[in-house]
Amino acid sequence: MPSRTLVAFAGACLLAACNFDQAGLDPPPRTFNFPIAVALSAAPAGGEPGYLFVANSNFDIHYNTGSLQSIDLARVHALIASSCGGGSDDCVIPLSNDVVVSEVGVGSHVSGLELSPGGDRLYMSVRANRNLTFVDVADGELRCDAERRDPGGAQEEDIPRCSDDFRSGDDAIATARDLVLNDEPIAVATGRIEDIGGAADSGDFVLMALRSGGVALFLDRPGGEGRRPELVHVATGFPDDLVNLSIQPGTGVAWMTSSSSSALGRVGIALDEGDLARSFLFDFGDRFIGGVDQGDDVRDLVFAGTGGTAFALTRSPEALLTLDVERAGRNPGELGLGDIYEVGDGPSRLTLAEVGGRPYVLVSCFDARKIFIVDPEVRSVVAVVGGFSGPFEMVAAPHTRDGSTETFLYVTDFTTSQVRVVNLEPLTTAGVPRIVASLGEPITVETLGN
């Protein structure tokens, strides 16, 4: 039987611990923290993207926000050339001020990142915000009315945080329609309204997938400084456990992947040309992955070319499937299966890249810690790149140096909190691409408690 003194002491300690004013740790600047998504800045006409945007998820809630950083790619490549002797797998490029040119806090658990068609705005799905988060971009500078949480506070350095106006869309129309966003945002996709039947220069649409089978439609119409995307509709009833969504080129239809279903949900946008605010989402009908064992865990989907062919990444089996969107499969609703490529454990994301004028499909395999590279023209896996710890999202871009252009892949390495840079050029000579640099010092899980 504990004494009353002990009980009182324990109670006092508990009360002391319940300090509701604890703001948590501010994330240190120029540090990746479980980077989960990447995007490239818009390339100028005839040029190459100048910036890489990296979204940090703050997966372990170690800090009080996740962040978005803008990386100067010209500086990165200059350092690879100068400090790394052209590149090596043990070359680490510190995230100095001239590498990270801008960063802002956007909330924890970022799950998706997409650049607007005009290149002036980044859209994010952030689970902590439960709404569309967006940040304006100008020449690599991130703008979202950001302010430091505690200027002059105890912590020596902090990053400015986006204001609330940038963490949710305009809800005036949503309120009139009794629309509620009450699910976790999991992915975003965007396109021009004029590309799906709207008038010219009428702005962009943004689709935000919600984990439990919902999709929200935002319209980001021209409105000058301070414009906010308007939430105009939320449709539900799509497959549960959504992972990602991709817009089929030339249509107002987005395809969704689910980690618990072989159904590829499809959502269409019905534009009301007379009053865009009355536009709707509708269920365009599921298509199914059939014929494989079992195809019920699809992690990503990307359309190739004009949209007649799609690549789907499944974890059951762990394979990249080529889908013929036009050809029906064996059973009603199933898509025709094309080539199938084995990939490593835990396939997570895929992206397309052109190297030496030849298209490749790249697959990150989180558990296998590798990237599998498929050449669809010779219908083969042609290279497997190792050296990662937890590769996830990736993006490829050309970089020209001394008159020659090479293609680089930027890969978020989630578990070491780095971004790996891979030179894909060896593919042109049947070689194996390799990591040429890592951005940021590795932060392993073991060190997080320090």
Binding site: A270, F282, I340, V378
Partner: protein, 822 residues
């Protein structure tokens, strides 16, 4: 305290007895290709022996009895497999057999550590993405690996395989971008032939007596596509014979119809894309499949000169070839040979007659199925690999008596026992399916058809037919109707149809089933006279529920996004109505099997939209709309039905995200409502579906809904008379016979108290095909089968699962998974 000391000391002693626990074996990482190797053991498990001719690894037992078939080879030898690992660029060596009574009784089957000096467990490094491996059978000094990723060949000295000191392969570069996909040895084993899809070429690399590589020769491939063999142009007597065995003997099987060959596909690009190589042991030629050209090429292995290719009309992937087999069950010599190939477009499997080049049927794609597509094997999955297995088969003695005076062996004759020639197909669904080519056990099968003393208990009903799935279980009967057809009318209960076609107590609610004539391939299945015809052929039938629903929904026409245009006489719908089978009143032809049909209806199934319901109660528009849908205070509505006048695929100037447009008439029912009322009441997207009018929608749970509607001129939906005649009708009418590929019946006149009845027919007892479910091995994970290989030496099938299971060793004498290695 003393009680603890003794156990502690014991534990310490045990711990000290094995100071260096063995390293955990490496695991496969995306294995792909397999080759076999025989090793002579000399008692030293570390360095002992060396590779020897594969024929030394013959099975340990020579009795041929099933119970002795344990997979072990002769004393003093061990069988190995070499397996490429595509993710790591390695070659794994796996010991497949033990040596229980021989010189190395401590060795056990499993992966071999290629370099014991390194910590952990290692395989042999080769090139990037190794896709093919081969070893000379007669003089296995070296293993050759084709690396697809790095476009190289790796040569491994096999003598070092078991020394555990690592192996450094010799590397030979092929032309950049060659991307080798397949590799074979010439029949004399004096050269390698490599398919190079990246170049559209085949390479030949000579081997010297020590197995070293000579200079590489590259050869371009022809692009000529001869006309395919047309079996319909041949006299009936020259067509390939039919190999069938049934018990009862009078059991009729459907004969696959002989049809004209498919039009050869046009290559998407001019450069050939050779993919798979296969040596024909009879002619010595090398057969080459092509992913672009609809031909199988035939190459001379020495000169690489091409003989006339076999036109199969589609590009192909993997190939497999049978030995000579008897033409029929009663034939006295083995005269037939078949080439099987995987269609590169849809992964179906086709069979080609390659028995004799002098025959007119040589190179013909054979009819192998009674149901469409008739030129493809009845395979429920999509094929990724094929292999021909020949357990205990010798073409020279193929027709000798098999079961006479045999007891023990004959006792085991049954669906799971494989003695003869069989096709094994590794499918994407994780199964290995087996097909009959020639079963030497036929004379031991079927109680009532053989001497009962030689038979297998419960083996009453037997069907074995060439190119057909092997029936995998002992059976007493074939497919049947589960029970008489039933009617269910408006949820009032189920009534069985009587033999005279009436429905007893429900006679006023449902139509009668009238007598019909059953046309092949359907058979009479019910009635005092034939009143229902279904597929009962064991290969064509499917366990199925067939329903005919009065006023039923046309599948895939439901949408929550129908868009009524204010003031217009149409609605835009999501899916293409012609594709789904929707037809309008004005689009019906005056004659044909659907003559008199009044066209489909659009039915609004959802409630009024929020913009209407949010109006004040008593608002005139809201009141009018609520009257339209007969909305009650509880919110219940009655579907609004609008006759479809015309259905069209979406015009080019229509909404790009919609599939089609339905032109409508005023709604049915009372109240005098017009189409304008409907468009006014549904200013937002509406929930709709299309239903049949005064007709039954007939569907199969397995095959779906077949209809005759196509898009005609201007995208107008119309009935294609040829499709309707072929049985793709979709709708059954009163007083008419309904014929489809899977059911025939005739409905009587419209009953007086008709509601919304549903006729149901269940086909059951369909025999299941023989298969091995690889995905169920070891707890059930997803599988991705990549290769299937038959090893003649140990008479086993080897399947490679890239996902989880690894290399699967399958025993055929009693179909089971014997081992897995990974």
């Amino acid at each position: 305290m003393r009680r603890l000391i003794l156990p502690s000391l014991c534990a310490l002693a045990l711990a000290c007895s094995n100071a260096t626990p063995p390293s955990a074996p490496a695991t496969f990482d995306r294995p792909e290709a397999v080759a076999f190797l025989c090793w002579a053991l000399d008692g030293d498990p570390r360095t002992g022996g060396g590779p020897v001719s594969l024929e030394n690894c013959t099975p340990r037992s020579t009795t041929g009895l099933v119970e002795d078939d344990n997979g072990e080879v002769r004393d003093g030898f061990a069988l190995f497999a070499l397996v490429t690992q595509t993710a790591t660029g390695e070659l794994a060596a796996v010991r497949l057999t033990n040596d229980p009574d021989g010189v190395e009784d401590r060795q056990f089957a499993g992966p071999v550590d290629s370099d014991e000096r390194l910590p952990g467990f290692t395989f042999m490094p080769v090139g990037e993405v190794p896709s093919a491996v081969i070893v000379r059978e007669r003089d296995p000094k070296r293993a050759y690996v084709a690396n697809r990723g790095s476009s190289t060949l790796s040569v491994i000295d096999l003598a070092a395989l078991r020394k555990g000191e690592g192996v450094i392969p010799e590397t030979v570069a092929l032309t950049e971008g060659a991307r080798p996909s397949s590799m074979v040895l010439t029949p004399d084993e004096d050269a390698l032939l490599v398919a190079l899809p990246g170049l559209g070429q085949v390479a030949r690399i000579p081997l010297d007596v020590d197995g070293r590589l000579g200079e590489v020769t590259y050869v371009d491939l022809s692009t000529d596509v001869p006309a395919p063999v047309d079996l319909t142009a041949l006299p009936a007597g020259s067509l390939p014979s039919s190999y069938r065995y049934t018990c009862p003997a009078d059991l009729a099987l459907l004969e696959p119809p002989v049809t004209a060959p498919r039009e050869p596909s046009v290559p998407s690009e001019p450069t050939p894309e050779p993919w798979n190589l296969l040596v024909d042991p009879v002619t010595g030629e090398v057969l080459v499949s092509d992913l672009r050209y609809p031909i199988v090429r035939r190459l001379d292995p020495t000169t690489l000169a091409e003989a006339a290719p076999i036109t199969v009309s589609v590009p192909t992937r993997a190939l497999a070839l049978t030995p000579f087999v008897p033409a029929t069950v009663d034939a006295e010599e083995a005269t037939e040979r078949y080439l099987y190939a995987i269609d590169a477009i849809d992964r179906s499997v086709l069979a080609v007659d390659v028995s004799d080049e002098a025959r007119p049927t040589y190179g013909a794609v054979l009819p192998v199925s009674a149901t469409a597509p008739t030129d493809r094997l009845e395979l429920s999955g999509e094929a990724r690999g094929v292999a021909v297995a020949t357990p205990r088969y010798d073409a020279d003695t193929a027709t000798e008596p098999r079961c006479t005076d045999v007891t023990t062996d004959a006792d085991r004759a049954g669906p799971a026992s494989h003695y003869g020639v069989f096709l094994a197909v590794a499918a994407l669904d994780g199964n290995v399916y087996l097909f009959d080519v020639y079963d030497r056990d036929t004379e031991c099968r079927g109680l009532g058809c053989i001497d009962a003393n030689d038979g297998t208990p419960n083996d009453d009903w037997v069907v074995i037919a060439r190119h057909h799935p092997r029936i995998g279980v002992l059976r007493e009967s074939g497919p049947i109707l589960e029970r008489a057809p039933t009617w269910d009318s408006d949820g009032r209960g189920t009534v069985e149809v009587a033999a005279d076609g009436t429905a007893g107590a429900a006679a006023d609610l449902v139509p009668t089933l009238e007598p019909v004539t059953c046309a092949t391939p359907l058979e009479a299945a019910f009635g005092d006279e034939a009143r229902l015809c279904v597929l009962l052929d064991p290969y064509a039938a499917e366990a199925d529920t067939i329903t005919a629903t009065f006023g039923g929904r046309i599948p895939f026409t439901s949408t929550s996004g129908a868009n009524f245009e204010a003031g217009a006489d149409y609605v835009d719908v999501r899916s293409d109505p012609c594709r789904e089978g929707v037809i309008g009143r004005d689009q019906m032809a005056g004659d044909g099997v659907l003559a008199g049909y009044e066209g489909d209806r659009l039915v609004i199934t959802g409630d009024l939209p929020p913009s209407i319901l949010s109006r004040e109660e008593g608002d005139p528009l809201r009141s009018r709309c609520e009257a339209l849908v007969e909305r009650t205070v509880s919110g219940a509505t009655t579907p609004v039905q609008l006759p479809i006048v015309r259905a069209v695929s979406m015009p080019a100037d229509g909404r790009p995200t919609y599939g089609g447009r339905l032109f409508l008439d005023d709604p049915l029912g009372e109240g005098g409502f017009t189409l304008d009322d409907v468009t006014t009441c549904y200013p937002e997207l509406a929930e709709v579906e299309v239903r049949a009018s005064n007709a039954f929608v007939v569907q199969s749970s397995r095959r779906g809904y077949f209809h005759p509607v196509v898009a005609g001129a201007g995208g107008e939906c119309e009935v294609d008379p040829a499709l309707a005649e072929a049985g793709l009708r979709g709708r059954a009418l009163f007083g008419a016979t309904f014929r489809s590929p899977f059911v025939t019946f005739a409905l009587g006149e419209r009953p007086p108290l008709l509601g919304t009845p549903v006729l149901s027919v269940n086909v059951t007892d369909v025999p299941s095909a023989s298969r091995i479910d690889v995905s169920s091995i070891g707890g059930g994970t997803s599988s991705l089968l990549s290769r299937i290989v038959y090893n003649e030496v140990d008479e086993r099938l080897y399947v490679v699962d890239q996902a989880r299971v690894g290399l699967v060793r399958i025993r055929l004498t009693n179909l089971t998974v014997q081992n897995t290695f990974r």
